[in-house]
Amino acid sequence: MSATGHTLQLAELRRGDNASFGGKSAALGELIAAGIPVPPGFAVSTSAFRAFVDEAGLGGMIAAEMSRMSPGDVDSVGAASHAISQAMRFAPVPDAVRDEVARRYAELGAEAPVAVRSSALGEDSQDATFAGQQETYLWVRGADHVCDALRDCWVSLYSPPAISYRARLSDGEEPAMGVAVQLMVDAEVSGVLFTCNPVSGDPSMVAVNASWGLGLAVVGGEVTPDDYLVSKVTREVVRAHVHSKDVQYVPDAGGRGAVRVDVPEARRTVACLDAAGLDALVDVAGRIERYFGSHQDVEWAIARDAELPASLFIVQSRPVTAVQRPAGTPAATSAMALVLSAFGAGKKD
């Protein structure tokens, strides 16, 4: 990477770039490599964050605040968070970063709406989800606003939960963060899918949660989404629970940001996925699972005014954490022993 090379196209990233671009961006690069439809975009490296801290001369101040706070003391964490956040918000994004982001942004189209998402180091790993460090800014337009959102993502590194979380498990290393910038999908329907049933652990099922509008409502738990369980083997819908989806996020009428609105009454209890939608999701779930070789937790969106499968986009994929393992069968039992135990004979365990 050149001295000012703070960004790369998402398509150029691979798993190994996790350390410099964060887990989310690296996973998006892998998805693109796997031929999965991902909205185009670019990734901002952790080097941009470091340049930001260095140029604004915030390093000493951050270190001082952090050394003053005690992880167990909520007030001290809050005070440190407030002081660092305030300082960061007033610091400029370095020109080199700003120019590069503007150039990359222009490649996505004039004033194109984008999503700006944090991509923390180690985030989205199989071991843990970095709760509280996943700031996402939707429907951002214009290079200046993208840079503001970029800075907001960096600020989120020092939110109180993020500070506590790091204090609990980390080694005191300097935190850093990558950011992903992606073209927005004007989602009619969006949600989450798991490439297994996370509740029962059944690996033959794809579990889908879906609701109207942008994915925020489902991810944030603001609606009870429609809930589907679909067999990977036969594509049969084994379970379909349609719930009343009362709110949704849609692009703000002014064209900037996403707003929460009520779902029109008549539409709330309408199933938001049909057979074709589920089929496309199960199809892409299988491809993602095969590519990564493990069960994945995937965020997806189906764009308005387009036809499946072209309208389906994957905006995030990460390994499923805490998957339930099916009860399975007792080890080292022969088929005959199992039959005998069904009749109440033989060894049960």
Binding site: G201, P326, M336, V339
Partner: protein
């Protein structure tokens, strides 16, 4: 077994009233088949469920032989031969003509362990030598059917034939009683064969199903069934032959004879007018042996005759198939597709499992595929072919008693218990020998008339799905395997005792439809089913195949995912919910209902 109920309750068997005009129904059944006061304390604490799978309508006195013999046979194999560790056999009682059954559990852990030793040796021997033993079984069963066909019911002449006077032939009173005893003996033997492999066959299948569910908790039952089900099964042959005959009719240009509403005789008469028609009839004749030994129903009753006895059902199928072919529809059973799908499911599910589970999966699937053909084939050979022929053999004794004035109609014999028939024959032979005056001709006809009347009245009464105590858990493998009566099912019945517009059962064939219900309680009502209706019945028989092309969905009172209705509905792509416990008593013909074959629910909409 009994537990304080937290999930609803069943009525006490002692509190159920006799419907008006049905007093004295008990006379039709043996003394031990009642809920009597002597056993009240024990019987009230037991869980009894209505065996509507085998006995959907009130039992005629003679037909009760199928209860006794079947449970003698089931109990012998389960309890005395294989010594299934936690369960002995099945007890039965009768309420208002309907048969309730209850398992006898083994509770003593030492006894269970002792039985487990026998079971492992004996069942293990069967599983290991399955193909050889099943080959022998087929030979025995075929020989039994031949023996039944050859059994002669002697006539009583004024004088004995010369062979008695000049040869060694025995006298007719001995021959008639021998013939009757022999008929009963053949029936005993059939049931012995019937249960020899049945439990073990279901057991292997159930173990495979359990392994699938332990590793793939959400796998639909029907996928498990699809992986195991046989392709070239005897049970499907009769219907396949009808489809072949329908094609032949079109190919040889005799199809105009098959007009909706015509009787078999009218169709035959028209066919007999042309050479092509005669050729078709000749082909039909060649198919009849053995394929028209299909029964018209699935219950163990003399009224379920064969296609040979009542050709209306196969002819209705033929008319339907000819019509469908002419309309350009494909009537073939998609065997290739079923075979491919069966193997694809097995491969794909297998690939999702870890190595250890995979090994068990492969072994159990192989075992299940080895043993399951028996489960499907015994039905044709025992329940249909043998039993329909056997009822006809009993009718020949009915003829003998009609000839001598004891009865008006041959079928009157079924209003007497098997022991009463023995007694009537005894008297007939006594008075025939002595030249005395028989009392039977005056004695039996009023009894026959009264019992016919009783059965008709009892038929209007709706039995509760279960009586007695609600069990904490159902542990009896036979109840679970043969009747699909699981803990969950029983508790759902208990909850539903109060009624309600939603019924739950087993999701047997996926899909959701709404439509008008058609409640079918007896085989005679099959003809009433109209296009687009939802079939609601106690249980279906393979002989009902023709109506599955008409109906939108099927709902049954009893049965599991491997029951006939479930299998056929999956083949026809029609949603089905089986084992609802009370569909025929809760739903009325004409009501709109919604059947959700994916969730296993039935909702009464109006």
């Amino acid at each position: 077994m009994a537990a304080p109920s937290t999930v609803g309750s069943f009525p006490s068997p002692y509190e159920i009233e006799t419907p008006p005009g049905c007093e004295g129904w008990e006379e039709m059944y043996p003394y031990y088949g009642r809920f009597d006061e002597e056993r009240r304390e024990a019987d009230e604490q037991r869980f009894w469920f209505w065996n509507s799978m085998h006995f959907p309508v009130p039992m005629p006195a003679f037909d009760a032989i199928c209860i006794d013999t079947a449970y003698q046979a089931l109990g012998s194999w389960q309890n005395r031969v294989f010594a299934v560790p936690p369960a002995m056999g099945i007890d039965w009682r009768c309420i208002n003509g309907y048969i309730y059954i209850s398992g006898n559990p083994v509770l003593d852990p030492e006894k269970i362990a002792e039985r487990a030793g026998h079971f492992e040796k004996r069942a293990g021997y069967y599983y290991e030598n399955w193909d050889e033993l099943y080959g022998k079984w087929r030979t025995k069963m075929d020989a039994l059917i031949v023996e039944l066909g050859e059994l002669e019911v002697p006539q009583l002449g004024e004088y004995e034939p010369d062979e008695v006077a000049f040869g060694d032939q025995q006298t007719s009173y001995v021959s008639v009683l021998d013939a009757y005893r022999n008929a009963l003996r053949l029936h005993d033997v059939m049931w012995q064969h019937h249960f020899e492999f049945l439990l073990l066959g279901y057991g292997a299948y159930m173990t495979f199903a359990e392994l699938c569910k332990a590793n793939l908790p959400d796998i639909p039952d029907q996928h498990i069934a699809q992986m195991v089900a046989g392709l070239d099964v005897l049970l499907f042959r009769p219907d396949a032959e009808l489809r072949r005959l329908a094609r032949l009719a079109i190919d040889t240009g005799v199809d105009p004879a098959f007009v909706e509403g015509r009787s078999p005789e009218e169709i035959d008469a028209e066919l007999a007018q042309s050479d092509a028609g005669l050729a078709w009839l000749a082909e039909l004749e060649s198919v009849k042996e053995p394929w028209f030994h299909m029964a018209t129903g699935d219950g163990l009753y003399h009224t379920y005759t064969s296609w040979l006895d009542d050709p209306r059902i196969p002819y209705a199928s033929l008319i339907g198939y000819v019509g469908a072919l002419k309309a350009g529809e494909n009537i073939e059973r998609p065997t290739d597709h079923i075979a491919q799908e069966r193997d694809r499911l097995a491969t794909e599910y297998g690939a999702l499992l870890g190595d250890e589970a995979r090994q068990g999966f492969d072994q159990l699937l192989t075992l299940s595929r080895t043993v399951f053909p028996y489960v499907e084939e015994h039905k044709f050979l025992c329940d249909y072919w043998f039993l329909t022929s056997w009822w006809n053999k009993i009718r020949e004794f009915g003829d003998l008693l009609v000839t001598h004035g004891f009865f008006e109609h041959r079928d009157d014999i079924f209003q007497l218990s098997r022991l009463e028939v023995y007694s009537a024959l005894d008297e007939l032979l006594l008075t025939w020998a002595t030249g005395g005056q028989p009392r039977g001709p005056k004695y039996w006809p009023p009894i026959v008339a009264r019992r016919r009347e009783l059965l008709a009245r009892l038929g209007d009464w709706t039995p509760p799905p279960a009586v007695g105590a609600v069990p904490e858990a159902v542990l009896d493998p036979a109840l679970i395997m043969l009747w699909g009566v699981t803990t969950q099912r029983v508790h759902a019945w208990a909850r539903e005792q109060e009624g309600g517009s939603e019924l739950t059962g087993t999701a047997a064939s996926p899909g959701v439809v709404e439509g008008p219900a058609r409640v079918v309680k007896t085989v005679g009502e099959i003809g009433d089913v109209r296009d687009g209706e939802i079939l609601v019945c106690s249980i279906t028989s393979p002989a009902w195949a023709p109506i599955f092309s008409k109906i939108q969905a099927a709902v049954t009172d009893i049965g599991g995912v491997m029951s006939h209705a479930a299998i056929v509905c999956r083949e026809y792509g029609v949603p089905a919910v089986v084992g609802t416990g009370r569909a025929t008593s809760s739903i009325k013909t004409g009501q709109r209902i919604r059947v959700d074959g994916t969730e296993g629910t039935v909702t009464i909409l109006e």
